[in-house]
Amino acid sequence: MDAIFAILTIFTQPQLLILVGIGTFAGIYIGAIPGLSVTMAVSILISFTFSWEVYPAISLMVGIYMGGVYGGSRTAILLNIPGAPSAIATAMDGYPMAQRGEAGQAIGVTTVMSFFGGLIGILVLALAAPLVSDFALTFQPRDYMLLAVLGILLVGSLSTGSLVKGIFAGALGIAIGAVGRDPLTFAERFTFDFKILEGGISFIAVMIGMFGISEALQQLHNVDKAAVRQKISKIVPSFGTIRKYLPLSLQTSSIGVVIGALPGTGGDIAALMAYDHAKRVTKTPSRPFGEGAMEGLVAPETANNAAVGGAFIPMMTLGIPGDAVTAIMIGALFIHGLNPGPMLMIDQPDMFWFIVGALLMANVFMLIFGLTGIRIFTKIVEMPRAIIIPLIFLLSIVGAYAVNNSITDVYWMLGFGVFGYFMRHYGYPLGPVILGVILSRLLDDNWRRAIISEREDLGRFFEGVVTSPLSLTLFIAVILIFVSQTPIWTRAKSRLFGKAVS
């Protein structure tokens, strides 16, 4: 009963409702402008909501997240440029539809299906999170440590091509997170005797640098690319169309939630898997896949929005973010004095239910804004990059400065921005860095707790891992990810595959 009241908090305060609305609106447009990403928007905005109360801040960020995941599909359909990685699969059939002059229809169906997907994701979050959090109370420190390692590895291996580069990025993040005085022993770590480093590096500076500055620098390469004008007709889809694709969307939503809920995997992988699923189960698509099949549009769009709710499950119950955006959300919760993890559900269940309520509202706003305002939308998307890019730089600087009123943070941000720029160019994923920075403390604390409780004995530590089914599962998962990247795996696979063929 309390839960229902907490969900309804959002409706009792119009100010919060408006903030969710503004957030969703901004998220859709930011997600849709090529070159502006949700990750960037959320990271820059967190610094501005720093001084706010926790409820308004969360309202705004939830809105941006939800809107941004959806907004990425717009440019995928209209320009064949996914506004976010989660919209990569959307472009495969969405753009061919736009080329046939069916852009309006494609956007309409995408919006309604995103709404359904989002709704299912949130419902699963509301039902599953309390259970997961009860279960998480039985976790030992070593389980948290393994889970953190698993999360970083998964982000490194699944979201991008090269696992080695992902591992490097994750380890780098953990090292950045360790800079400063050790909270337990007060020993200096990676300070190089600089006083300025003793307090550590502000994770906001790292984040805005990596996602704001480096991205804007990257966009300087595209400054002369002209915006493409598209004609958009009727967008509200007919009831019949929706009913026709509802069964498929229910299936792909479940894929989305499950994939989203796995630590380290987010909307992008969910969308690609859903697309693959749709391809397998649809016997007679409206058109061949890749040439504008409606099924190829419905599947990834439901899945990536369902993954939003899914991604909140590990984030809220375990304190382990699912992807870069949830990593940033966790950072925001930390800043506002909340501690995501199983205790959050026990100490502050209201906060959890409030977030569920905010997500629900953001989903409704997404439907409303998605089906209206298409005219303003085309105007905003056509805004020249030559003006947007300098503004992003400006906002990044303001954001980095605002958190601690410190010019040092601005320099850190610039440094990480330039470093991130090179990482982007050479194919190093940035997500694991942020995940590493956020999880560094958790990993360090839990490792030390675990090993001290085993009296500093590695043998006993591994005995503990092997005898607990949960730790063993996590441990095997970590090992499997490693093995899957070595030549041993490829050889074993080709042998197995070879046998299957013969």
Binding site: P34, G35, L36, S37, V38, T39, M40, S51, I81, P82, G83, P85, I88, M92, S159, G161, S162, V164, K165, F168, A171, L172, A175, A178, A187, E188, R189, F190, E215, L217, L220, H221, N222, V223, K225, A324, R385, A386, I387, I389, P390, L391, F393, L394, I397, V398, Y401, A402, I407, V410, L414, F422, R424, H425, Y426, G427, Y428, W447, R448, I451
Partner: protein, 190 residues
């Protein structure tokens, strides 16, 4: 669109987020140098991590830093070994595709922004930065860049200073006095 394709797509069409660039079977100009730099940096960090507490205890403050920098060093070496034998991307040059003059110019502008922010104050510095960079990017007239800059700066200032109440260095502009004047006007009118 091939999901495994990580080549030129994100480099030229503006696909955003942390989707990395790079080619699967070729190396871009400077890629090997970057990998070697990362290896050396990781080794130095490993040495530094060892100095935190050495092999004192498994729960020592230096344990996790040593483990992570060790992982960094190993993976960086593997990256170097994997990158070195790859053929170079023929169509790209370091000066044109990785670090063009424009990017260097902007890094310079940003550093300038940081240096001037405290002494000059946010508003003049931001105006200078916006005008210069919009002029640089649009190649339109000075009045145009100045106009766009002033317009956007007013909006940003209202949103962040007044709505978000973010404190920014005032520098030479009597910002607080101006805000107070506005408040007085508003109160007087009410």
């Amino acid at each position: 669109m091939d999901p495994e394709f990580r080549g030129d797509a994100d480099h030229h069409d503006g696909t955003s987020d942390a989707a990395p660039g790079g080619y699967v079977n070729q190396r871009r100009p400077g890629e090997l140098g970057f990998a070697i730099f990362l290896t050396l940096a990781s080794l130095y960090l490993l040495y530094d991590a060892y100095n935190i507490s050495g092999f004192q205890a498994l729960s020592a403050p230096g344990a996790i830093p040593m483990a992570t920098t060790f992982v960094m060093a190993i993976s960086a070496v593997i990256i170097v070994l994997r990158t070195a034998p790859l053929p170079r991307v023929r169509s790209e040059t370091f000066r044109k595709d990785i670090l063009p003059v424009l990017v260097i110019a902007f890094i310079g502008l940003l550093i300038g922004f940081g240096i001037l922010l405290k002494p000059l104050g946010f508003l003049p510095t931001a105006l200078l930065f916006l005008t210069l960079s919009i002029k640089l990017l649009t190649r339109k007239t000075w009045p145009y860049s100045l106009g766009v800059s002033v317009g956007s700066l007013v909006i940003i200032w209202i949103v962040f200073r007044v709505v978000f109440t973010v404190l920014l260095p005032a520098g030479i502009v009597p910002e607080a006095e101006f805000l107070q004047l506005l408040r007085n006007l508003a109160n007087g009118g009410a």
